[in-house]
Protein backbone atom coordinates (compact mmCIF):
# COMPACT_ATOMS: atom_id res chain seq x y z
CA UNK A 1 0.00 0.00 0.00
CA UNK A 2 1.13 3.57 -0.66
CA UNK A 3 1.59 5.76 2.38
CA UNK A 4 1.51 9.53 2.76
CA UNK A 5 4.16 11.42 4.78
CA UNK A 6 1.65 11.66 7.67
CA UNK A 7 1.03 7.90 7.83
CA UNK A 8 3.57 7.04 10.58
CA UNK A 9 2.23 9.80 12.85
CA UNK A 10 -1.38 8.70 12.29
CA UNK A 11 -0.57 5.09 13.13
CA UNK A 12 1.24 6.26 16.27
CA UNK A 13 -1.85 8.30 17.25
CA UNK A 14 -4.04 5.20 16.90
CA UNK A 15 -6.01 6.24 13.82
CA UNK A 16 -8.13 3.52 12.25
CA UNK A 17 -6.49 2.94 8.84
CA UNK A 18 -8.22 1.59 5.72
CA UNK A 19 -7.22 0.95 2.12
CA UNK A 20 -8.42 3.71 -0.23
CA UNK A 21 -7.48 2.74 -3.76
CA UNK A 22 -3.76 2.12 -3.59
CA UNK A 23 -3.39 4.17 -0.41
CA UNK A 24 -3.58 3.31 3.24
CA UNK A 25 -5.40 6.27 4.80
CA UNK A 26 -7.02 7.13 8.16
CA UNK A 27 -10.80 6.59 8.11
CA UNK A 28 -11.24 8.06 11.59
CA UNK A 29 -9.39 9.36 14.66
CA UNK A 30 -11.84 10.35 17.44
CA UNK A 31 -14.84 9.02 15.47
CA UNK A 32 -16.68 9.99 12.30
CA UNK A 33 -19.51 11.86 14.06
CA UNK A 34 -17.14 13.85 16.29
CA UNK A 35 -14.90 14.74 13.34
CA UNK A 36 -17.87 15.66 11.14
CA UNK A 37 -19.21 17.98 13.82
CA UNK A 38 -15.76 19.50 14.41
CA UNK A 39 -15.59 20.54 10.74
CA UNK A 40 -19.19 21.85 10.65
CA UNK A 41 -18.95 23.78 13.91
CA UNK A 42 -15.25 24.39 14.52
CA UNK A 43 -12.30 23.20 12.44
CA UNK A 44 -10.58 19.98 11.32
CA UNK A 45 -7.47 18.88 9.43
CA UNK A 46 -7.35 16.32 6.60
CA UNK A 47 -4.40 14.59 4.95
CA UNK A 48 -5.00 14.94 1.19
CA UNK A 49 -1.51 13.86 0.12
CA UNK A 50 -3.04 11.01 -1.86
CA UNK A 51 -4.50 13.46 -4.36
CA UNK A 52 -2.45 14.13 -7.47
CA UNK A 53 -0.74 17.47 -8.08
CA UNK A 54 0.03 18.07 -11.74
CA UNK A 55 1.70 21.21 -13.08
CA UNK A 56 1.03 22.09 -16.71
CA UNK A 57 3.25 24.89 -17.97
CA UNK A 58 4.47 26.39 -21.22
CA UNK A 59 3.18 28.52 -24.07
CA UNK A 60 0.83 25.75 -25.26
CA UNK A 61 -0.67 25.07 -21.82
CA UNK A 62 -3.81 27.22 -22.28
CA UNK A 63 -4.77 25.70 -25.64
CA UNK A 64 -3.97 22.20 -24.42
CA UNK A 65 -6.05 22.44 -21.23
CA UNK A 66 -8.93 24.27 -22.92
CA UNK A 67 -9.20 21.24 -25.23
CA UNK A 68 -8.66 18.67 -22.44
CA UNK A 69 -11.16 20.06 -19.89
CA UNK A 70 -14.91 20.72 -20.11
CA UNK A 71 -15.09 23.98 -18.13
CA UNK A 72 -13.78 27.25 -19.62
CA UNK A 73 -10.31 28.20 -18.38
CA UNK A 74 -10.40 31.46 -20.35
CA UNK A 75 -12.57 32.67 -17.45
CA UNK A 76 -9.73 32.17 -14.96
CA UNK A 77 -7.79 35.19 -13.81
CA UNK A 78 -4.36 34.57 -12.28
CA UNK A 79 -4.77 33.05 -8.85
CA UNK A 80 -8.24 31.62 -9.53
CA UNK A 81 -9.36 28.02 -9.69
CA UNK A 82 -12.39 26.18 -11.03
CA UNK A 83 -14.01 22.75 -10.80
CA UNK A 84 -13.91 20.96 -14.12
CA UNK A 85 -14.12 17.58 -15.87
CA UNK A 86 -11.84 15.65 -18.14
CA UNK A 87 -14.06 13.78 -20.62
CA UNK A 88 -13.55 11.09 -23.21
CA UNK A 89 -14.73 11.70 -26.80
CA UNK A 90 -18.03 9.94 -25.89
CA UNK A 91 -18.68 12.46 -23.09
CA UNK A 92 -18.00 9.99 -20.28
CA UNK A 93 -15.83 11.20 -17.43
CA UNK A 94 -12.13 10.36 -17.06
CA UNK A 95 -11.93 12.40 -13.85
CA UNK A 96 -13.29 15.43 -12.04
CA UNK A 97 -10.65 17.88 -10.87
CA UNK A 98 -9.68 21.39 -9.90
CA UNK A 99 -7.59 23.60 -12.18
CA UNK A 100 -5.82 26.72 -10.90
CA UNK A 101 -4.16 29.41 -13.03
CA UNK A 102 -1.09 30.12 -10.89
CA UNK A 103 0.75 32.46 -13.25
CA UNK A 104 1.30 33.13 -16.94
CA UNK A 105 1.07 29.77 -18.75
CA UNK A 106 1.23 28.00 -15.39
CA UNK A 107 -1.60 25.73 -14.29
CA UNK A 108 -1.99 23.39 -11.33
CA UNK A 109 -4.37 20.43 -11.59
CA UNK A 110 -5.57 18.62 -8.47
CA UNK A 111 -6.75 15.15 -9.47
CA UNK A 112 -8.33 12.22 -7.63
CA UNK A 113 -6.12 9.76 -5.76
CA UNK A 114 -7.70 6.72 -7.38
CA UNK A 115 -7.30 8.16 -10.87
CA UNK A 116 -3.70 9.35 -10.84
CA UNK A 117 -2.36 6.60 -13.10
CA UNK A 118 -5.31 6.72 -15.53
CA UNK A 119 -5.30 10.53 -15.63
CA UNK A 120 -1.58 10.82 -16.32
CA UNK A 121 -1.79 8.22 -19.08
CA UNK A 122 -4.76 10.08 -20.59
CA UNK A 123 -3.16 13.54 -20.26
CA UNK A 124 0.19 12.44 -21.70
CA UNK A 125 -1.56 10.63 -24.58
CA UNK A 126 -3.49 13.79 -25.46
CA UNK A 127 -0.34 15.90 -25.19
CA UNK A 128 1.65 13.66 -27.52
CA UNK A 129 4.77 15.48 -28.62
CA UNK A 130 3.15 18.93 -28.64
CA UNK A 131 5.70 21.74 -28.36
CA UNK A 132 5.60 24.38 -25.61
CA UNK A 133 4.11 22.05 -23.04
CA UNK A 134 5.58 20.67 -19.85
CA UNK A 135 3.56 18.28 -17.67
CA UNK A 136 4.91 17.33 -14.26
CA UNK A 137 3.19 15.25 -11.61
CA UNK A 138 4.65 16.05 -8.19
CA UNK A 139 4.74 12.45 -7.00
CA UNK A 140 6.40 12.97 -3.63
CA UNK A 141 4.37 16.05 -2.66
CA UNK A 142 1.99 16.18 0.27
CA UNK A 143 -1.36 17.89 0.74
CA UNK A 144 -3.44 19.11 3.69
CA UNK A 145 -6.93 20.56 4.03
CA UNK A 146 -7.88 22.79 6.97
CA UNK A 147 -11.67 23.00 6.97
CA UNK A 148 -14.34 24.61 9.13
CA UNK A 149 -15.74 27.94 10.26
CA UNK A 150 -12.64 28.54 12.43
CA UNK A 151 -10.14 27.81 9.62
CA UNK A 152 -9.38 31.50 9.02
CA UNK A 153 -8.88 32.09 12.77
CA UNK A 154 -6.39 29.20 12.87
CA UNK A 155 -4.51 30.60 9.87
CA UNK A 156 -4.47 33.98 11.58
CA UNK A 157 -2.74 32.39 14.59
CA UNK A 158 -0.29 30.52 12.40
CA UNK A 159 0.74 33.22 9.99
CA UNK A 160 2.22 35.93 12.17
CA UNK A 161 3.71 38.27 9.58
CA UNK A 162 1.16 40.94 8.62
CA UNK A 163 2.19 40.83 4.99
CA UNK A 164 1.72 37.08 4.70
CA UNK A 165 -1.39 36.98 6.84
CA UNK A 166 -2.82 39.50 4.41
CA UNK A 167 -1.98 37.36 1.44
CA UNK A 168 -3.34 34.15 2.88
CA UNK A 169 -6.41 35.48 4.66
CA UNK A 170 -7.45 37.74 1.78
CA UNK A 171 -7.81 34.70 -0.49
CA UNK A 172 -11.40 34.40 -1.63
CA UNK A 173 -13.23 31.17 -2.38
CA UNK A 174 -11.45 29.26 -5.21
CA UNK A 175 -8.39 31.53 -5.08
CA UNK A 176 -4.85 30.20 -4.67
CA UNK A 177 -1.41 31.64 -4.19
CA UNK A 178 2.06 30.12 -4.25
CA UNK A 179 4.67 30.71 -1.58
CA UNK A 180 8.36 30.03 -1.31
CA UNK A 181 9.40 28.74 2.06
CA UNK A 182 12.21 30.58 3.78
CA UNK A 183 14.15 27.94 5.70
CA UNK A 184 15.12 30.56 8.30
CA UNK A 185 11.49 30.76 9.32
CA UNK A 186 11.18 27.04 9.88
CA UNK A 187 9.78 26.48 13.36
CA UNK A 188 11.05 23.83 15.72
CA UNK A 189 8.90 20.73 15.90
CA UNK A 190 8.96 21.18 19.66
CA UNK A 191 7.03 24.46 19.46
CA UNK A 192 4.05 24.89 21.73
CA UNK A 193 1.02 26.92 20.60
CA UNK A 194 2.25 29.99 22.49
CA UNK A 195 5.57 30.16 20.70
CA UNK A 196 4.75 29.37 17.11
CA UNK A 197 6.54 32.39 15.78
CA UNK A 198 7.47 33.40 13.29
CA UNK A 199 5.27 31.95 10.62
CA UNK A 200 6.34 28.99 8.61
CA UNK A 201 4.79 30.06 5.35
CA UNK A 202 7.40 32.31 3.80
CA UNK A 203 7.50 34.82 0.99
CA UNK A 204 5.01 34.91 -1.80
CA UNK A 205 6.84 33.44 -4.75
CA UNK A 206 7.21 34.39 -8.37
CA UNK A 207 9.01 31.22 -9.44
CA UNK A 208 7.11 28.80 -11.65
CA UNK A 209 6.46 26.00 -9.17
CA UNK A 210 6.20 27.27 -5.60
CA UNK A 211 7.13 25.32 -2.48
CA UNK A 212 3.60 25.58 -1.13
CA UNK A 213 0.34 26.50 -2.82
CA UNK A 214 -2.40 27.72 -0.48
CA UNK A 215 -5.93 27.72 -1.89
CA UNK A 216 -9.24 28.66 -0.33
CA UNK A 217 -10.99 25.50 -1.40
CA UNK A 218 -12.19 22.22 0.06
CA UNK A 219 -14.49 19.23 -0.19
CA UNK A 220 -16.65 19.93 2.88
CA UNK A 221 -18.73 23.02 2.02
CA UNK A 222 -17.19 24.92 4.91
CA UNK A 223 -14.68 27.75 4.73
CA UNK A 224 -11.15 26.41 4.57
CA UNK A 225 -7.73 26.22 3.02
CA UNK A 226 -5.89 23.53 1.12
CA UNK A 227 -2.11 23.24 1.00
CA UNK A 228 -0.14 21.49 -1.70
CA UNK A 229 3.63 21.22 -1.70
CA UNK A 230 6.80 19.48 -0.71
CA UNK A 231 6.42 16.93 2.07
CA UNK A 232 8.89 18.49 4.52
CA UNK A 233 7.05 21.84 4.42
CA UNK A 234 3.67 20.20 4.87
CA UNK A 235 4.93 18.06 7.77
CA UNK A 236 5.98 21.26 9.56
CA UNK A 237 2.62 22.86 8.80
CA UNK A 238 0.82 19.76 10.10
CA UNK A 239 2.85 19.96 13.28
CA UNK A 240 1.78 23.53 13.85
CA UNK A 241 -1.89 22.75 13.31
CA UNK A 242 -1.57 19.83 15.69
CA UNK A 243 -0.02 22.08 18.35
CA UNK A 244 -2.94 24.48 17.87
CA UNK A 245 -5.20 21.51 18.80
CA UNK A 246 -6.87 21.28 15.41
CA UNK A 247 -8.70 17.92 15.45
CA UNK A 248 -7.45 15.39 12.90
CA UNK A 249 -10.09 14.11 10.51
CA UNK A 250 -10.27 10.97 8.40
CA UNK A 251 -11.87 9.83 5.18
CA UNK A 252 -15.06 8.79 7.03
CA UNK A 253 -16.19 12.33 7.80
CA UNK A 254 -14.72 13.60 4.53
CA UNK A 255 -17.33 11.38 2.85
CA UNK A 256 -20.30 12.50 4.99
CA UNK A 257 -19.30 16.17 4.68
CA UNK A 258 -19.00 16.05 0.90
CA UNK A 259 -22.21 14.05 0.50
CA UNK A 260 -24.19 16.61 2.55
CA UNK A 261 -23.01 19.19 -0.02
CA UNK A 262 -23.90 17.00 -3.01
CA UNK A 263 -20.25 16.89 -4.10
CA UNK A 264 -19.52 13.91 -6.35
CA UNK A 265 -17.06 11.14 -5.51
CA UNK A 266 -15.28 9.68 -8.53
CA UNK A 267 -15.63 5.89 -8.62
CA UNK A 268 -19.11 6.05 -7.05
CA UNK A 269 -21.06 9.00 -8.48
CA UNK A 270 -18.84 9.51 -11.51
CA UNK A 271 -17.15 6.98 -13.77
CA UNK A 272 -16.23 6.14 -17.34
CA UNK A 273 -19.68 4.62 -17.96
CA UNK A 274 -21.70 7.80 -17.42
CA UNK A 275 -21.53 11.08 -19.30
CA UNK A 276 -21.00 14.51 -17.79
CA UNK A 277 -24.62 15.44 -18.57
CA UNK A 278 -26.10 12.23 -17.13
CA UNK A 279 -24.07 12.98 -14.00
CA UNK A 280 -25.79 16.36 -13.68
CA UNK A 281 -22.64 18.42 -14.16
CA UNK A 282 -23.96 20.68 -16.98
CA UNK A 283 -22.68 23.70 -15.06
CA UNK A 284 -19.06 22.75 -15.77
CA UNK A 285 -19.66 21.70 -19.40
CA UNK A 286 -19.16 24.81 -21.57
CA UNK A 287 -20.38 23.71 -25.00
CA UNK A 288 -19.91 27.22 -26.43
CA UNK A 289 -16.27 27.75 -25.43
CA UNK A 290 -14.81 26.12 -28.56
CA UNK A 291 -13.79 22.55 -29.21
CA UNK A 292 -12.87 20.20 -26.39
CA UNK A 293 -12.70 16.44 -25.96
CA UNK A 294 -16.25 15.14 -25.59
CA UNK A 295 -17.99 18.27 -26.87
CA UNK A 296 -19.60 16.73 -29.95
CA UNK A 297 -21.05 13.80 -28.01
CA UNK A 298 -22.28 16.04 -25.19
CA UNK A 299 -23.86 18.50 -27.66
CA UNK A 300 -25.73 15.63 -29.34
CA UNK A 301 -26.83 14.34 -25.94
CA UNK A 302 -28.05 17.80 -24.95
CA UNK A 303 -30.17 17.97 -28.13
CA UNK A 304 -31.56 14.44 -28.06
CA UNK A 305 -31.88 14.04 -24.28
CA UNK A 306 -29.99 11.95 -21.75
CA UNK A 307 -30.72 8.31 -20.93
CA UNK A 308 -30.35 8.89 -17.21
CA UNK A 309 -30.32 11.72 -14.75
CA UNK A 310 -28.61 12.27 -11.41
CA UNK A 311 -30.79 12.96 -8.38
CA UNK A 312 -30.50 13.55 -4.64
CA UNK A 313 -32.87 12.12 -2.04
CA UNK A 314 -33.45 12.04 1.69
CA UNK A 315 -35.27 9.62 3.94
CA UNK A 316 -37.51 10.31 6.92
CA UNK A 317 -36.01 10.21 10.40
CA UNK A 318 -35.48 6.63 11.56
CA UNK A 319 -36.40 5.23 8.12
CA UNK A 320 -32.99 3.72 7.34
CA UNK A 321 -29.75 4.52 5.58
CA UNK A 322 -29.28 4.33 1.80
CA UNK A 323 -26.01 2.77 0.67
CA UNK A 324 -23.92 2.59 -2.50
CA UNK A 325 -25.59 0.15 -4.97
CA UNK A 326 -28.99 -0.01 -3.25
CA UNK A 327 -31.72 -0.08 -5.87
CA UNK A 328 -34.07 2.86 -6.53
CA UNK A 329 -37.62 1.56 -7.01
CA UNK A 330 -40.83 3.12 -8.32
CA UNK A 331 -44.12 1.27 -8.78
CA UNK A 332 -42.42 -2.01 -7.89
CA UNK A 333 -39.90 -1.57 -10.73
CA UNK A 334 -36.17 -0.86 -10.46
CA UNK A 335 -35.64 2.59 -11.98
CA UNK A 336 -32.14 3.42 -10.83
CA UNK A 337 -29.28 2.90 -8.42
CA UNK A 338 -27.81 4.64 -5.38
CA UNK A 339 -24.26 5.77 -6.09
CA UNK A 340 -23.59 7.41 -2.70
CA UNK A 341 -25.61 7.00 0.46
CA UNK A 342 -24.99 7.62 4.12
CA UNK A 343 -26.40 8.78 7.38
CA UNK A 344 -26.18 12.58 7.45
CA UNK A 345 -24.74 13.62 10.83
CA UNK A 346 -25.90 17.23 10.34
CA UNK A 347 -29.51 16.31 9.48
CA UNK A 348 -29.87 13.07 11.46
CA UNK A 349 -31.43 11.23 8.48
CA UNK A 350 -30.32 9.04 5.59
CA UNK A 351 -29.35 10.92 2.42
CA UNK A 352 -28.05 9.84 -0.95
CA UNK A 353 -27.54 10.47 -4.63
CA UNK A 354 -27.85 8.26 -7.66
CA UNK A 355 -28.92 7.69 -11.23
CA UNK A 356 -32.49 7.12 -12.45
CA UNK A 357 -33.42 6.02 -15.97
CA UNK A 358 -35.38 8.79 -17.70
CA UNK A 359 -37.56 6.27 -19.59
CA UNK A 360 -38.61 4.56 -16.33
CA UNK A 361 -38.94 7.39 -13.86
CA UNK A 362 -40.68 10.79 -14.02
CA UNK A 363 -39.95 13.44 -11.42
CA UNK A 364 -43.33 13.49 -9.66
CA UNK A 365 -43.61 9.68 -9.35
CA UNK A 366 -43.08 8.15 -5.90
CA UNK A 367 -39.55 6.86 -5.31
CA UNK A 368 -38.34 4.26 -2.79
CA UNK A 369 -35.02 2.72 -1.90
CA UNK A 370 -34.82 -1.04 -1.48
CA UNK A 371 -33.04 -1.53 1.84
CA UNK A 372 -32.76 -5.11 3.13
CA UNK A 373 -35.71 -6.26 0.93
CA UNK A 374 -37.94 -3.39 2.11
CA UNK A 375 -38.96 -0.46 -0.09
CA UNK A 376 -38.38 2.68 1.99
CA UNK A 377 -40.09 5.81 0.61
CA UNK A 378 -37.77 8.71 -0.12
CA UNK A 379 -38.14 12.36 -1.00
CA UNK A 380 -36.24 13.80 -3.97
CA UNK A 381 -34.28 16.90 -3.02
CA UNK A 382 -31.81 19.04 -4.91
CA UNK A 383 -28.45 19.04 -3.09
CA UNK A 384 -26.87 20.55 -1.10
CA UNK A 385 -28.70 18.66 1.63
CA UNK A 386 -27.12 20.91 4.24
CA UNK A 387 -26.45 24.65 4.08
CA UNK A 388 -23.21 25.63 5.85
CA UNK A 389 -23.39 28.82 7.89
CA UNK A 390 -19.98 30.21 7.04
CA UNK A 391 -18.86 30.43 3.46
CA UNK A 392 -16.40 33.06 2.28
Amino acid sequence: MKKTPFHPEYVRLGARMIPFGEWEMPVQFAGILAEHNAVRKNVGLFDISHMGQVWVTGSASFAFLQNLLSNDISRLQTGKGQYTLMCRPDGCIVDDLYVFLMGTDTYLLIINAGRRTEDMTWILDQAGSRAGLRIEEQKTNAGLALQGPRAAAIMDKLVRSDYLAGSVLSLKRNEARGFSVNPLLKPSTENRPSDITPAYIGHETVTTIPDIVVSRTGYTGEDGFEFFGRAEHLLALHDNFHHLDVPLCGLGCRDTLRLEMGYRLYGQDLDERHTALESGLQWVVKLDKGDFIGRDALRREKESGSRRRFIGFRLAKGAGVPRHEHRLVSGGQTVGIVTSGSFSPSLGVGIGMGFVENALFKDNAPLSIRIHDKDVPTEIVVPPFHKPQTVV
Binding site: V27, Q28, G31, I32, H36, G252, V321, S342
Partner: protein, 126 residues
Amino acid sequence: MRNPDTLRFAKTHEWIDSDGTVGISQHAQEAITDVVFVEVPKPGKAAQQGQSCAAVESVKAAFDIYAPVNGTVSAGNAAVSQNPALVNKDPYGDGWLFKLDISDKAQLNQLMTHSQYQDFLKTNPH
Protein backbone atom coordinates in the same frame (compact mmCIF):
# COMPACT_ATOMS: atom_id res chain seq x y z
CA MET B 1 -25.71 -2.77 33.03
CA ARG B 2 -25.30 -6.53 33.09
CA ASN B 3 -22.11 -8.15 34.26
CA PRO B 4 -20.73 -9.71 31.04
CA ASP B 5 -19.53 -12.69 33.10
CA THR B 6 -23.20 -13.71 33.48
CA LEU B 7 -23.82 -13.65 29.70
CA ARG B 8 -23.25 -16.08 26.83
CA PHE B 9 -21.59 -15.00 23.57
CA ALA B 10 -21.87 -16.06 19.92
CA LYS B 11 -18.93 -16.11 17.49
CA THR B 12 -20.79 -13.37 15.59
CA HIS B 13 -20.36 -11.10 18.68
CA GLU B 14 -23.91 -11.12 20.08
CA TRP B 15 -24.53 -11.72 23.78
CA ILE B 16 -27.62 -13.30 25.33
CA ASP B 17 -28.81 -13.21 28.91
CA SER B 18 -30.54 -16.21 30.49
CA ASP B 19 -33.83 -14.22 30.30
CA GLY B 20 -33.41 -14.06 26.47
CA THR B 21 -32.22 -10.45 26.19
CA VAL B 22 -29.82 -10.01 23.23
CA GLY B 23 -27.28 -7.32 22.43
CA ILE B 24 -23.84 -6.90 20.90
CA SER B 25 -20.54 -7.15 22.72
CA GLN B 26 -18.25 -4.34 23.83
CA HIS B 27 -15.78 -5.52 21.18
CA ALA B 28 -18.48 -5.38 18.48
CA GLN B 29 -19.62 -1.86 19.34
CA GLU B 30 -16.01 -0.67 19.23
CA ALA B 31 -15.48 -2.31 15.84
CA ILE B 32 -18.73 -0.96 14.38
CA THR B 33 -17.94 2.58 15.72
CA ASP B 34 -20.67 5.25 16.04
CA VAL B 35 -24.03 3.49 15.70
CA VAL B 36 -26.44 5.80 13.84
CA PHE B 37 -29.33 3.47 12.99
CA VAL B 38 -30.82 0.34 14.58
CA GLU B 39 -33.60 -1.82 13.20
CA VAL B 40 -35.08 -4.05 15.89
CA PRO B 41 -37.47 -6.94 15.17
CA LYS B 42 -41.18 -6.81 15.97
CA PRO B 43 -42.61 -9.05 18.73
CA GLY B 44 -43.82 -12.39 17.37
CA LYS B 45 -41.05 -12.74 14.80
CA ALA B 46 -39.57 -16.24 14.73
CA ALA B 47 -35.83 -16.14 15.31
CA GLN B 48 -33.55 -18.91 14.19
CA GLN B 49 -30.07 -19.44 15.55
CA GLY B 50 -27.48 -17.90 13.21
CA GLN B 51 -30.10 -16.07 11.11
CA SER B 52 -30.29 -12.28 10.84
CA CYS B 53 -32.73 -10.84 13.37
CA ALA B 54 -31.81 -7.13 13.60
CA ALA B 55 -29.56 -4.58 11.88
CA VAL B 56 -27.12 -2.08 13.32
CA GLU B 57 -25.63 0.61 11.10
CA SER B 58 -22.66 2.90 11.53
CA VAL B 59 -22.02 5.95 9.37
CA LYS B 60 -20.03 3.74 7.00
CA ALA B 61 -21.79 0.37 6.91
CA ALA B 62 -24.68 -1.89 7.88
CA PHE B 63 -24.23 -4.99 10.06
CA ASP B 64 -26.61 -7.94 10.46
CA ILE B 65 -27.25 -9.05 14.02
CA TYR B 66 -27.87 -12.79 14.30
CA ALA B 67 -30.09 -14.62 16.77
CA PRO B 68 -27.79 -16.52 19.17
CA VAL B 69 -30.46 -19.22 19.77
CA ASN B 70 -33.87 -20.26 18.40
CA GLY B 71 -36.89 -18.47 19.81
CA THR B 72 -39.66 -15.96 19.30
CA VAL B 73 -39.09 -12.24 19.63
CA SER B 74 -40.99 -10.95 22.66
CA ALA B 75 -39.74 -7.34 22.51
CA GLY B 76 -37.58 -4.96 20.50
CA ASN B 77 -35.78 -2.14 22.30
CA ALA B 78 -37.55 1.04 21.16
CA ALA B 79 -35.01 3.12 23.09
CA VAL B 80 -32.12 2.14 20.80
CA SER B 81 -34.22 2.88 17.71
CA GLN B 82 -34.74 6.39 19.10
CA ASN B 83 -31.19 6.77 20.39
CA PRO B 84 -28.82 4.43 18.51
CA ALA B 85 -25.77 5.75 20.41
CA LEU B 86 -26.97 3.69 23.42
CA VAL B 87 -25.46 0.65 21.68
CA ASN B 88 -22.02 2.29 21.95
CA LYS B 89 -22.51 3.79 25.41
CA ASP B 90 -23.98 0.79 27.17
CA PRO B 91 -23.77 -2.39 25.06
CA TYR B 92 -24.50 -4.69 28.04
CA GLY B 93 -27.23 -2.44 29.50
CA ASP B 94 -29.58 0.08 27.89
CA GLY B 95 -28.10 -0.74 24.48
CA TRP B 96 -29.77 -4.19 24.32
CA LEU B 97 -31.49 -4.89 20.99
CA PHE B 98 -34.28 -7.44 21.41
CA LYS B 99 -35.62 -10.11 23.72
CA LEU B 100 -36.35 -13.74 22.83
CA ASP B 101 -38.60 -16.38 24.32
CA ILE B 102 -35.95 -19.08 24.08
CA SER B 103 -37.24 -22.33 22.53
CA ASP B 104 -34.48 -24.57 23.80
CA LYS B 105 -32.43 -23.39 26.78
CA ALA B 106 -29.86 -26.10 26.03
CA GLN B 107 -28.70 -24.00 23.09
CA LEU B 108 -27.35 -21.46 25.59
CA ASN B 109 -24.73 -23.97 26.69
CA GLN B 110 -23.38 -24.19 23.13
CA LEU B 111 -22.43 -20.50 23.36
CA MET B 112 -19.23 -19.12 24.85
CA THR B 113 -18.83 -17.78 28.36
CA HIS B 114 -17.35 -14.28 28.63
CA SER B 115 -13.86 -15.64 29.34
CA GLN B 116 -14.12 -18.08 26.42
CA TYR B 117 -15.24 -15.15 24.23
CA GLN B 118 -12.22 -13.09 25.36
CA ASP B 119 -9.96 -15.98 24.31
CA PHE B 120 -11.87 -16.27 21.04
CA LEU B 121 -11.19 -12.57 20.33
CA LYS B 122 -7.46 -13.09 20.85
CA THR B 123 -7.36 -15.67 18.07
CA ASN B 124 -10.07 -14.03 15.90
CA PRO B 125 -9.45 -10.30 16.11
CA HIS B 126 -12.27 -9.60 13.62
